[in-house]
């Protein structure tokens, strides 16, 4: 039993780091633009399928695919910004408008994936000799370990960007108070476009990593990841990018520990119950400040 729990904790932490990065991608859009990207998981799936095709066509591994998919998604993000941003900001309730718009986008992506890649589950061969190994008593999946390491690197890069660069400081300033920032002469529109690109570049990383950490991808899996992303960012605090890491860890641990004690079919339940309870008692999240917008 002790070993089972230890293993659950290790795998919970590994998955939690990945979930955290998934959350950051969604949260940075929300923080800067109040855009609720309900198509987050579908974008991830799109990235995963691109990794699949890159592997089939050019023999690239999922890790190499990241380097290709990331710039593509960055450009996609800037384009989406140009398409939707103004319209959404002008509507009566931008948050709900963005939520519904991206729900529409999620349906479009799902149907495109279904048309291009069909409904069969797909998988990308792992680029490792050993798919899993024992570290002491703990059974580790190489794919998940590598994914978690890449996520840590990505989070470090994002933190560096947010806290050490000029533009990153502008991003944080916009999250704090977008009206004041535009008075100070920061081009909110341009920073938003950049953030949209970065947000989707993060999605690209997580999408490619999904093919490493999970055995197969299917077109309808996107919804699951959108749910996870929501949960993670609500746990960590909407609009607090690094809070997502904590949210991800809490969720990853809750998920893996509950799978030790509960039947498998019920383990998603834990996530949703945490979400509902969290929003009801502490809508600003574990790390979030009290927001005036709530």
């Amino acid at each position: 039993m002790f070993e089972l729990i230890l293993m659950a904790i290790v795998s919970g932490v590994l998955m939690g780091i990945i979930y955290g990065l998934i959350g950051i991608g969604m949260n940075i859009l929300y923080g800067v633009m109040r855009i609720v990207n309900f198509a987050h998981g579908e974008f991830m799936m799109l990235g995963a399928y691109l990794a699949f095709t890159l592997n089939r066509a050019f023999g690239l591994s999922s890790l190499q695919a990241i380097l290709v998919v990331m710039p593509v998604f960055f450009i996609l993000g800037v384009m989406l910004h140009a398409l939707f941003y103004n319209r959404i900001q002008q509507s009566e309730d931008p948050e709900i408008a963005s939520f519904l718009t991206f729900f529409g986008v999620s349906l479009v992506i799902t149907s495109l994936i279904l048309m291009i890649w069909k409904a069969d589950p797909r998988s990308v061969p792992l680029p490792f000799e050993k798919v899993s190994f024992f570290l002491g008593p703990v059974f580790l999946s190489t794919g998940r370990l590598v994914s978690a390491l890449i996520c840590v690197l990505a989070v470090a890069a994002i933190s560096f960007f947010l806290y050490r660069t000029y533009t990153g400081k502008a991003v944080r300033a916009i999250i704090e108070n977008r009206d004041a920032v535009s008075i100070l002469g920061i081009d909110v529109h341009r920073v938003s476009a950049l953030v949209f690109g970065i947000g989707l570049a993060i999605v690209a990383i997580t999408g490619c990593l999904v093919t490493l950490s999970f055995p197969a991808i299917t077109p309808v899996l996107g919804q699951t990841y959108t749910n996870i992303a929501f949960l993670v960012i609500v746990l960590g605090g909407l609009g607090s990018p690094l809070g997502s890491m904590l949210g991800g860890l809490v969720y990853g641990l809750a998920e893996s520990l509950s799978s030790v004690f509960l039947p498998l079919a019920l383990s998603p339940l834990v996530a949703f119950v945490i979400l509902v309870v969290m929003v009801m008692i502490r809508p600003q999240g574990l790390l979030g400040k009290v927001s005036t917008r709530i």
Binding site: R87, T101, G104, S111
Partner: protein, 309 residues
């Protein structure tokens, strides 16, 4: 005031007579059944989103619980169907009261929590012992299959929900709800009981889809968790209501009739495109036509308010 009431009422009477004739005419009964079903869903959704401004993204749960209560009561306890359907309505009411605390939340928080709640209910229902709720295979009601009776029951519910919407938009409650939607603080200062008015609308918006769920379970004679708690049902309800125009009475009806017709047409010919069209329609509606067809017409020619509502 009086003239348009006459026009509206006569339109409702004519439409009702036509729909009542459908079973004897050489027309597809399921087609018109589902048209009425979507009119009902969109009109009820309009009460909570159009009038109150709350977006319940897990709206399907009221419908889903309605289908299951009817199916379980009839198949496991032998409750007669009309009574079981009434119980579905009661279950919707109970559910809305259980989720009443979520009305404290606003905007996207409310939408997300409602959505998550619908997911929870779906998982719970799918994992109930098979002897109770049939597990993931669901429950068959083929022994009670009576398409004609359920068709007319749906007609009654559709007319009722449209009339309720019409009544609401002129009632004290409806006016209070619009005030709250536009400026909550001002409404509270004017002496409107904000949370009570909101709760009433929420309960109303919950009972109707639960009843519709019960009737629909009877009509199709099969209930399963994936259909009963399908996110797409919420999506379609939102799109149909928005397409016509939220906050108007004719809007959701027009939206449901038109979009359901389009959906049915596409679904029959290009099943894969169905999802794509739904997605593109949502994007287009939100970005370019947030008021919907009827809403935009009224905004452009305010005089139209006298004839359509």
């Amino acid at each position: 005031m009086k003239t348009y009431r006459k026009t509206t009422l006569s339109v409702i009477v004519i439409a009702t007579l036509f729909l009542a004739m459908v079973p004897v005419l050489p027309l597809s009964k399921p087609y018109f059944f589902y048209m009425m079903f979507w009119i009902t869903m969109a009109s009820a959704f309009n009460i909570i989103y159009g009038f109150v401004g709350y977006l319940p993204f897990g709206y399907v749960m009221f419908y889903g619980v309605g289908t299951y209560v009817t199916a379980v009561l009839w198949s496991r306890l032998g409750v007669p169907l009309p009574l079981a359907i009434l119980c579905s309505g009661a279950a919707g009411l109970v559910l809305s009261l259980a989720f009443a605390p979520t009305l404290r939340l606003k905007g996207i928080y409310f939408a997300i929590v409602n959505f998550a709640s619908a997911m929870v209910l779906r998982i719970v229902v799918a994992n109930l012992p098979e002897a109770w709720a049939g597990g993931s295979f669901g429950i068959s009601l083929s022994g009670a299959y009576k398409p004609l009776a359920s068709y007319y029951l749906m007609l009654a519910l559709t007319v009722a929900s449209v009339v309720v919407g019409l009544w609401l938009s002129h009632s004290r409650l409806g006016i209070a709800l619009r005030c709250i939607r536009d400026d909550e603080a001002a409404a509270a200062v004017m002496g409107i009981n904000v949370s009570m008015s909101r709760l009433k609308a929420w309960m109303l918006a919950a009972v109707i889809p639960s009843l519709a769920g019960g009737i629909e379970a009877w009509f199709t004679a099969i209930v399963d968790p994936d259909t009963s708690f399908n996110l797409m049902s919420t999506a379609k309800t939102i799109v149909y209501a928005m397409f016509g125009g939220l906050g108007t009475i004719t809007g959701p009806i027009f939206g449901a009739v038109f979009m359901y017709g389009l959906d049915d047409f596409i679904w029959g010919r290009f099943p894969l495109l169905n999802l794509l069209v739904l997605g593109v329609t949502i994007i287009f509606l939100i970005l370019f036509l947030p008021r919907g067809v009827v809403g935009s017409l009224i905004q452009r020619w305010p005089g139209l308010r006298k004839i359509i509502e």
